[in-house]
């Protein structure tokens, strides 16, 4: 008998299979067609975006953040990737009997501070407590509503050969930070999670909106999953330049040691942009002028093709960048 495995939650090929073969089979409607981070809901005046996400991270406190900050950033970033200005959040808590109230307070304070920074109000909530052993401390679900920016039309169908792919900063930081904290792996330099709300980063580039064609915050499955989804949805190839992909040396070292590809590791404070070729330099300058985009760089281009992500390696060779499948696990040797 087939069962749900941890791989079904990896954000890569197994998750996609579950969504396509099960959830969409029963729940499909036109709003779900694009399966984007946030769904755009038409209203008489200005379109709204809605998104929801559940946070089950372990440990709940990690270098650079905690589950509270993450639950607000994650939903704000999904709205941002949907081209919306975040306005309202809901927060639902599933707590395990015995969880320390002092830790819960820390988490909620962290949520409040992040929401305040982004001028977002938490407007509804829910709390459930389950008996000890039936949950892992604390799970948080957040739903977000935002107002869609005018002049921004985001869709894989909008992308064209020649468009530039830009990433707002280094990749893989969150994945390594959580992994090393969870597993007690001691690396020489501690890597901090990049957990951050990106709504202000998008508003900083508002002048270039007509040229921005697609956005995504590469969380589970990392940039490899996001870019493969884009390539397949657009029916175009994406050509990455390995030498330009920003990865911190300590993230690279830890990934090499564990046999993991930083492109498949989760990020919680990065945005991928596809932008019209002529506006790429301007967008890059604007991003680099923002504190959360200081390390922004053009990492590749869109080319006509059949939906593959390819990488020109540092050595000058080429290889595929595959859709990740299964939770990242360290290798034996």
């Amino acid at each position: 008998m087939s069962r749900v495995t941890l791989s079904h939650g990896d954000g890569g090929a197994f998750s996609a299979q579950l969504v396509q073969n099960l959830f969409l089979r029963y729940l499909w409607n036109p709003y779900l067609e694009h399966l984007s981070d946030a769904t755009i809901l038409p209203t008489p005046n200005r379109a709204l975006a809605v998104t929801t996400d559940s946070f089950v991270v372990q440990p709940v406190f990690f270098p650079g953040g905690d589950i509270g900050k993450l639950s607000v950033c994650g939903t704000i970033n999904d709205l941002t990737a949907g081209g919306a200005r975040p306005m309202y959040l809901t927060a639902a808590f599933i707590l395990e009997e015995g969880f320390l109230l002092s830790q819960l307070e820390q988490i909620v304070a962290s949520m409040a501070q992040t929401a305040k920074e982004c001028d977002v109000a938490v407007v509804a909530g829910d709390t459930k407590v389950v008996p000890r052993g039936q949950a892992d401390g604390i799970y948080i679900n957040t739903t977000g509503i935002g107002q869609v920016y005018r002049g921004l039309k985001l869709s894989p169908r909008e992308i064209q050969p020649g468009d530039a792919i830009i990433v707002s900063g280094t990749l893989g930081d969150h994945g390594i930070a959580v992994l090393s904290e969870r597993e007690g792996l001691a690396f020489e330099t501690q890597v901090k999670s990049d957990c951050a709300p990106l709504s202000s980063l998008l508003s900083a580039v508002e002048d270039l909106f007509p040229a921005v064609r697609w956005l995504r915050d590469p969380t589970r499955g990392g940039a490899a999953a996001s870019l493969n989804e884009l390539a397949q949805a657009a029916g175009a190839d994406i050509i990455l330049q390995e030498r330009h992909i920003p990865i911190r040396p300590q993230v690279k070292a830890a990934s090499d040691m564990l046999g993991l590809d930083p492109l498949t590791l989760a990020n919680e404070g990065k945005m991928l942009f596809v932008v019209q070729k002529d506006s790429a330099a301007d967008l890059l300058n604007m991003l680099q002028a923002h504190p959360l985009g200081a390390d922004a760089v053009i990492i590749g281009t869109v080319a006509s093709g059949s939906g593959e992500v390819l990488m020109k390696t540092e050595a000058g060779g080429t290889r595929l960048v595959e859709m990740p499948a299964g939770i990242p696990v360290p290798r034996i040797c």
């Binding site: 069962r3 197994f14 564990l258 390819l310 000058g316 595959e322 299964g326 696990v329 360290p330 290798r331």
Partner: protein, 359 residues
Amino acid sequence: MNEQTVSALIHRIKSNITQPLRLMEVCGTHTTAIGRCGIRSLLTPELELVSGPGCPVCVTSQYDLDQMIMLSRQPGVTIATFGDMLRVPGSETTLELEKAAGADVRAVYSPFEAVKMAQQEQDRQFVFLGVGFETTAPAIAMSVELARQYGLDNYSVFSCVKTMPAALHALLGGGKSSLHGLILPGHVSAVIGRKAQDFVASHYHLPAAVTGFELTDILTAVLALVEMATKDEAAVVNCYPSVVREEGNPQARALIEKVFAPSDANWRGLGLIEQSGLSLRRELTQFDARLRFPVTPQDTPENSACRCANVLLGEITPPDCALFGSKCNPLSPEGPCMVSSEGACAAYFRYERKKAVTL
């Protein structure tokens, strides 16, 4: 990485090739690095790089896998394993599926974590799946030493440790090898030493190069092999002298010898090879999971359509297998070479599935 060094190496490799050559990278980590760096796309078609039997997950026999799965079903037993093993298919199921069905299977990063768990949860039996070559053997041996020192009676090792020289003898011994050289793993060599592999040249008259896992390391080894092969010379050269010594690491070797004794082992693809495995020494039987929890699965024949065995012997490349990319893919792997992150099929699927990539 120094671009000039890389292009100079590639130029020298290409200009030295006077005949078609087949080199085998014995180690799965090399296979992965070759795919990830796009090395094949940089070289000429006359130079073929084929994968060998050096992925410890891939050479684990189906019978051993079925035993591990049966162990995971024993009440009160926790299986601690490197993550690679979770999705490797046994006859009917995987450890990942057993975990989803309720078995206590935990992915760990080192055997020491398993020892720590055993200390903390003394009401459970912890079995560490010891899969690996000489590289992982010292850490596994140390975990047994620690468990002994701590007086733990709830920690044991299911040893599937194998030794690389034995595999090379089995690979080359048949006399049918069409290889012109071997790229030997730097990490195994760091333990056993360069000298321990001299037999490849002296006995089989095959050039070999010990090297590391960076692009320049691999290209340096390829160049050394191409130069030797074209001159019909054979030696085992050390292209990784910063890490690999002639005699290896005496402390690590002593630790292995203290805990393990050579024993016969079953290899996927190569079959039973005498004295090619490492079992726990007789005086340490209390830490030997094979003796503490004897399980005898049905001896199910391996999937005959899966050609992992031929891949491991360098007889075919992964795309030559009829299942590759269709019935066998990372979502539903038929054989271990598609599951393991070190596996040749996974590396081909991940990095080189698209033929004739030109950018």
